[in-house]
C-alpha cells in the first residue's frame, strides 16, 4: 500500500546515500535542582537525562521522523543538533564539523545551514517585530543582504511559502496573522538562508486540522524545490507515516525503534510502537476496535525505571525487563481502583506504609499494617494475583518471602535492552534478543 504519492517518493530513495548529519552516543543531561533549601545551598539533587545515548545518521534529502510523547527527548535532540541544548557527551558531526565543540561565531555560522521551525508559531515570532524585519533578519544577522536586495529576498521567501501578495504581509505584526500564516512566516524565515537541514519541531500540531495538510504540502513542495533534508519531530504518528522516509520512535531519552516508515508501520516491533500505532483514533467507524492501551504515563526522567524504561507500562514485559519496588506500589494502587471502597479500606489496613517502595530497588519490602502479620499481606497479594494472573508484574517476581513484619519480594535482575537489528529495523526490546542469545524468548507469545 503506497503511503505517499509515487511521484514524490521515487526520486528521493536513490539520493539517500550521502550522510548529512551523524550523531554518536549523544547525551543531554540537565542538572535538576530540588527544594528551595537545596537550591539555596546550590546543591544538585539529580540529573534529568533528556537525551541519553542516541546514535543517528541523517542522510541528505531524507525526512527523518522523531516520534514520541512529551518527555521522550525528541525536542531536546532536535535542539541539540542546532547547539541550542547543552551537550553533555557524544558527538554531532555535520559535514566534518563537530557541533558539540563549537561555540559563538562558529556555531552561528553553522546555523546558516541548519534551521528550525517551531511548534507554536505565535511564540516563535517576536511580537514587536514586523514580518518584513522578522523574515529578513537572518540575512541581516549574517550580513548577506541589505537594502533592496534584502527586500527582494524577503518578498521572494514570502511568496514561496504562499504568503502572497507579499506586500500585504510585509508591514503586518505577528498578532495580526492567523496561526497558519504565522507558521508560514516562520518557515519563510527558516528558508531565507537557503539551509540544508530543517528541523521541524511539531510544526503542525498547534494548527487547525484543515490547516495542517496545507502546511505539510508546503513543506513537501519546499523540500522538492530547495533540496532540503527534514528532521520532523512529532507525537502524531499519522502525519509521520505520511511525511517521513524513516521514523525513530523515542522513549525517555532513547531511541527504542528505528527503521523505514513502511517497515515500522507494517510491523511495529517494540511494544511501545505498537501501542502508539494502536492509540491513533481511526476515522472509519467500522474499523475502530477496542484497544489495549498501556497504562500510566511517561515516567519522570529524573528517576527512570530500572531496566527497560517502558517495562512498567508494557503489556508484554517479562522477567528480564527490570522489575522493581515502584512497580509493586503501582500494582497495589491499580488493584485498589478495581475494588469497592470497603474492600479497599480492609486491605489498606493490612498493608503498612507503602512510601518506602518509591526508592527504586530490586528488592521490595511490603510491611504489614498495625495488628496484621506477613501472612495477611501475603493473602492480599494472592488475591491480587488471582484477580489478574496475566499481569506482567508477576513474571518479574523471583521469590516472595513471608516474615512476621510483612512480605519481602525479590525481583529478577533486569537489563537495559540495547538497540539491535530485528527484521529490517532496529529495536531496543528484550523480545528481540540478539541472535545466538539464549536468554529467553518471551514467556507468552505476542499476539
Amino acid at each position: 500500500m503506497p503511503t505517499k504519492p509515487e511521484a514524490a517518493r521515487a526520486p528521493r530513495r536513490a539520493e539517500h546515500d550521502e550522510t548529512l548529519l551523524s550523531i554518536r552516543d549523544l547525551r543531554v543531561h540537565y542538572a535538576l535542582r530540588g527544594s528551595s533549601l537545596a537550591r539555596l545551598f546550590g546543591r544538585d539533587v539529580g540529573t534529568v537525562k533528556a537525551v541519553d545515548g542516541i546514535d543517528l545518521e541523517i542522510a541528505k534529502g531524507e525526512v527523518l521522523g522523531l516520534v514520541g510523547e512529551s518527555g521522550s527527548g525528541k525536542s531536546t535532540l532536535g535542539r541539540a543538533v542546532l547547539g541550542l541544548a547543552p551537550i553533555t557527551g557524544g558527538s554531532i558531526a555535520y559535514e566534518e564539523r563537530r557541533i558539540e565543540t563549537m561555540s559563538g561565531r562558529a556555531l552561528r555560522e553553522v546555523r546558516r545551514n541548519l534551521q528550525m521551525v517551531f511548534q507554536d508559531p505565535s511564540a516563535a515570532l517576536n511580537p514587536a517585530m514586523d514580518i518584513e524585519t522578522a523574515v529578513g533578519h537572518p540575512l541581516r544577522i549574517h550580513r548577506l543582504a541589505r537594502g533592496d536586495e534584502l527586500r527582494r529576498r524577503v518578498v521572494d521567501a514570502l511568496e514561496r511559502v504562499g504568503l502572497s501578495p507579499a506586500d500585504q504581509f510585509l508591514t503586518k505584526y505577528p498578532g495580526e496573522l492567523s496561526g497558519g500564516q504565522k507558521q508560514r512566516a516562520v518557515i519563510a524565515r527558516a528558508i531565507i538562508l537557503d539551509p540544508v537541514l530543517l528541523i521541524a519541531d511539531e510544526p503542525i500540531s498547534m494548527l487547525d486540522m484543515s490547516v495542517r495538510s496545507k502546511l505539510l504540502q508546503l513543506m513537501l513542495d519546499l523540500k522538492a524545490d530547495l533540496d532540503l533534508t527534514y528532521v520532523y519531530i512529532t507525537h502524531d504518528l499519522a502525519s509521520a507515516k505520511f511525511f517521513c522516509d524513516r521514523v525513530a520512535i523515542m522513549y525517555l531519552g532513547r531511541v527504542v525503534e528505528i527503521g523505514t516508515t513502511e517497515e515500522i508501520f507494517a510491523d511495529p516491533k517494540h511494544p511501545y510502537t505498537q501501542s502508539l500505532v494502536g492509540a491513533i483514533p481511526d476515522l472509519d467507524p467500522d474499523r475502530s476496535t477496542p484497544r489495549d492501551l498501556p497504562r500510566g504515563e511517561i515516567p519522570d526522567a529524573a528517576s527512570p525505571p530500572l531496566g527497560c524504561a517502558f517495562h512498567p507500562r508494557c503489556p508484554q514485559a517479562f522477567d528480564k525487563c527490570g522489575w522493581e519496588s515502584r512497580d509493586l506500589r503501582v500494582l497495589l494502587e491499580s488493584h485498589w481502583t478495581t475494588v469497592p471502597e470497603a474492600e479497599y479500606d480492609a486491605e489498606r489496613a493490612i498493608i503498612g506504609d507503602v512510601d518506602a517502595l518509591d526508592l527504586p530497588d530490586h528488592v521490595a519490602a511490603l510491611p504489614a499494617g498495625r495488628g496484621h502479620s506477613g501472612g495477611d499481606v501475603e493473602r492480599v497479594l494472592d488475591t491480587i494475583h488471582a484477580a489478574d494472573p496475566d499481569e506482567p508484574f508477576w513474571r518479574g517476581v523471583r521469590q516472595r518471602r513471608v516474615v512476621d513484619a510483612g512480605v519481602g519480594i525479590d525481583f529478577h535482575e533486569g537489563e537495559d535492552p540495547a538497540l539491535r537489528p530485528a527484521g529490517g529495523v532496529q529495536v531496543a526490546c528484550h523480545l528481540y534478543p540478539p541472535p545466538g542469545d539464549a536468554a529467553g524468548p518471551p514467556p507468552q507469545p505476542k499476539e
Binding site: Q115, Q119, P127, M129, I141
Partner: protein
Amino acid sequence: MAVMRRVLAPFRETVGFSRWMLLAGIVIVAFFVVLAVGAEWIAPYGYAQKSADGVDFPKLAEPGGDHLLGTDRLFFDVWSRVVWGARTALEVIVLAVAGSMILGLALGLVSGYVGGWFDRILVLVMDALYAFPPLLLAIVFGFLLADKIGAGVVSAALSLTVVYLPQYFRVVRNSTISARESTYVEAARALGAPGRTVITRYLFGNVIHSVPVIGTLNAADALGTLAALGFLGLGIQPTDGADWGFDLSRALDDASSGIWWTGVFSGAAIVLLITGLTLVGEGLNETINPVLRKKRLQKIRREETIR
C-alpha cells in the same frame, strides 16, 4: 515604531476613572512644565535676585504690590522662587528618571540575558542599594558628589539616579529572564543571532513596556526625595537655583512669627506636583496593566440581532 505603538496603544483604550486620573495628572504636570520652560518670562525676577533697578527688595515683605507672593528673609521674591523652583525640580526629575531608566534598562537587559556570575553580583549590589532608605542613600551620594562636582542640579540628579536605579534593574531583569526563555528568543539564536542582536532586537522591545509606569511613579517619589534633600540643605544651593525644599526649611522659623507666605507656596508646589505625577503614574498603571484594565466590550442591543 513598533515599540511606540505598543506603548501608546493603551492610551486610546483607557476608560472611566483611570482616564480621568490620567487627564487630571497631565493637566497638573503640564502646568508646572509651562512654569519651568517659561520661567524667564513668567517669573518677574531671577531666583537669586535681591534687587531690581538699583532698589533692594524688602525683607519678608507681605504678598501684594511689587511682590505678588511677598519676599523671604533672604530678600528673594517668593513667586519667582516658586517658578524657578519648578524648573529645578523638573530638571532634576527628568535627569534622574532618565538616568536610572537608561542605566537600569541596560544593566537589567544584559544581566538578565547573560546570567551567571555577572548577574549574581549585579543583583547583590542592586539589592543592597534597594535595602537602604532612599533618603539616606541620596544624602550619602549627595555628600560625595557635592565634594566632587558641587551641589548643583547634576549632582542632585545623579544621587537620585542611584536611588531609583535598582527598581528599573529588577523589573527589567525579571522580564528579561522570562522573555529569554521564550521561543522567539530561542528562534533568534537558532537563526544565528549573536547576543547583542538578541538583546537589542528581540528582548528590548518586549521588556520596555513595564518601564514607563515605574518612571512616572518614581518621578513623584524623586520629587519628594529632592525636596527632603533641599530641606536638609544638601540639595541645590540658593545661588545655583531655586529649590522648593530649601525654601521650605528657611521658612520654618518664619512660621512661628506669623509669616506664612514664605513656606506655603513652595510647600503647595511640592504637594501639587507630587500629586500630579502620582495621578499620571497610577492612571498609566491602570491603563497599561492588563489585570487592572477594563476593556471596552460593546453591548449588543436586542434589535440588532433581529434580522
